[in-house]
Symmetry: C2
Subunit: 409 residues, 2 copies
């Protein structure tokens, strides 16, 4: 059961001029399943991406990085579920290139103009023949209003499709932003993969697109964690089709740049948080906010230590205010000169720990009350500076083990 | 159910001349439970310790560090279960000092000659009055043959007491080594705490004791992980009573030093591995051996990434050869210049991945066969150097969640 996450609201999924999407059932791994999505992007668009830091990155990630670096315009994306094309060596690269070439041929493009994405089973050969055989049907389906179908088409074991949008005024023009994501679902022997795609008709200089993609990822997808496992295939791509009627944004620090980034970040955060809300076995959505650090990096480091602690996560699952576990995670987060007597801990409005010890005014029933909520704010004060950072995560339940242990016998 | 771990074998738990142990039921948290242990150490012994790196370390850890640094001889240890005296601020330090002073007074020692250890509930005041009231009974129980009782006396939710010993010839004399440990068990709102205590009658220069303790910990307790949570109270102490009839060991590089260290390391490893075998919910004991690294540090880093991955650990629980999860963990372990095409993966004798891809000769039924074993060797080749390192861990089961979620409603 996802935590406070509903199916996409079509009324906020704005068509983006210059982007058309087609979805089909190609039978990549299972029959009767939307598993192949093509995204067609008009000439003159700006495209940038951010990819997994995993050194064992999948073949499509390697090709995306290469094709984006050529400086040619990206004109299409090809996304399959059912097979991650990871751990597949040279053969995997060849199969991914073959699917890009097949789509490029139909669209009269160069293969380097296509970005491929795969999610699903790993260490098995990509069934490129089935993907190529499905291209005509996907192309025939292509239109600008297919965002919900696209969100469904990239799901693996996600239980809810994830799509959000917004409109904002930039330089006097109403521009639209629409995005989709998929999250941490695994079917054996699959990997959790996060995919996020966002498009806007805003006019953005190619020179700031990479910065925009990086800053959006840093404020959203790089702030969520389900189990700390970084996939081989994680990808986040931003498209600006430059169709709207306003002066091109050539700096993210300008008034227009700031407004555009804020609106896009709001959508990116919803997409990223939806992944946590639909995290495997999640029953609670937890915001971990660390303040009073010397740097935001050390705040994030502490937040991730808490977010990744199985002890903390099982305590949230149990609604058990076992809050020493949080303090212990703060202690081992790796800040060598941390002074425990400066630490404060709040659960929502409840002041649990004061100067590193139990707050004399803290009553366990107050902690218990907050722990029972489906949305919980954990706030840590480090007492050593002015920096802050936030991470979003979920709890750790029996269902997580069930989903990932996947009894086959 | 612990994995291949039996109750202590009294025939290998050698009394150590110069060490006497007394155990009693002090009612620290629960009645009818051995929860207070005193260890009396003859004058002239050498004592050294290694403690948690958690910055949120407990009051007793702070006092141990201080008392060991005075250079006075340590003459007694005082160990309680039921309360960790962590997250307790100045009050916790005062209560721990009070128990040390009470024991010191009965033994006509200085309080600084006593090392305190606590494990159990955190963020609750140490019931120092009950501990002090139990000291007479513990002292009345003191004798040299109490190692099994001591191993039982430091258990929290361990299911099996952990004690091992060995004898070895050093400089013509037969010397004895005996040790006990307790592991990762939690009762709400408790922390996993690892405690390890080893004693030998060997003659060891005080100058090499700290090095000996550090190297023993590095080769044993610092190589195991259950869930990656570093406790506030982890402590490992080594005692050499200098009673045996041989020339003092004043270098660990000498023939005698090497022989002593090897024998003690063998016992320390059994103690540390016993903690994993009795890890919460453990059904399998997994050795992760990483070879072909540039440094042993990077090998250990990769081994820990695998050992801490919830995806890998749930796959072991399910006996599911979902081995891409291991490759993915190798990829995100943090070696920035890792070349995936150099990676090999073996499960026991089964060669699963070759040059970063699936080994063409690998058959899933071979992987499945190994995954069903209760003891599994995961061997990774990084293909970039000559260094190697090893970590021991367990799988991640439904029982882990059950034990740590601890429904109270």
């Amino acid at each position: 059961m996802p935590v406070n996450l509903s199916a996409p609201n079509p009324s906020e999924l704005f068509p983006i001029a210059g982007v058309r999407i087609g979805v089909t059932e190609a039978g990549v791994r299972k029959a009767n399943r939307k598993d192949l999505t093509v995204v067609l992007i008009d000439e003159g668009s700006s495209v940038a991406g951010v990819f997994t830091k995993n050194r064992f990155c999948a073949a499509p990630v390697q090709i995306c990085r290469n094709n984006l670096s050529t400086g040619r315009g990206i004109r299409a994306m090809l996304i399959n579920t059912g097979n991650a094309n990871a751990g597949t060596g040279e053969d995997g690269l060849a199969r991914a290139r073959s699917t890009c070439a097949a789509l490029a041929s139909k669209l009269k493009l160069s293969p380097e103009d296509v970005l491929p994405f795969s999610t699903g089973v790993i260490m098995e050969p990509l069934p490129s023949d089935r993907i190529e055989a499905g291209l005509d049907a996907a192309l025939a389906d292509a239109n600008a209003s297919n965002w919900v179908r696209a969100a469904e088409g990239i799901m693996t074991t996600d239980t809810v499709a994830k799509a959000f949008g917004a409109q904002v005024v930039i330089g006097g023009a109403v521009i639209s932003i629409t995005g989709i994501s998929k999250g941490a679902g695994m079917i054996r022997p699959n990997m959790a993969t996060m995919l996020g795609f966002m498009a806007t008709d805003a006019c953005v200089s190619p020179l700031v697109m990479q910065q925009l993609a990086r800053e959006l990822a840093d404020g959203s997808f790089n702030r969520v964690t389900v189990d700390g496992d970084t996939s081989t295939n994680d990808s986040f791509v931003v498209i600006a089709t430059n169709k709207a009627e306003h002066a091109q944004v050539d700096s993210l620090e300008s008034v227009d740049g700031q407004a555009l980034k804020a609106a896009m970040l709001s959508v990116a955060r919803k997409l990223a948080q939806a992944i946590v809300r639909d995290g495997e076995g999640a029953t609670k959505f937890i915001t971990i906010q660390v303040e009073g650090g010397k740097t935001s990096d050390e705040c994030r480091q502490v937040a991730y230590a808490i977010a990744h602690s199985p002890l903390v996560k099982t305590a949230f699952y149990a609604s058990d205010p076992n809050l020493g576990r949080i303090l212990a995670a703060v202690g081992y987060a790796g800040i060598d000169d941390l002074d425990q007597s400066g630490i404060d801990l709040f659960l929502d409005d409840v002041h649990v720990a004061l100067h590193g010890g139990r707050n004399p005014a803290y009553r366990e029933e107050d902690g218990q009350r907050v722990m029972k909520q489906s949305e919980i704010l954990v706030r840590i004060g480090l007492g050593r500076g002015q920096a802050a950072d936030t991470v979003w995560t979920c709890d750790f339940s029996h269902d997580y083990v069930t989903i990932n242990a996947d009894y086959r016998s």
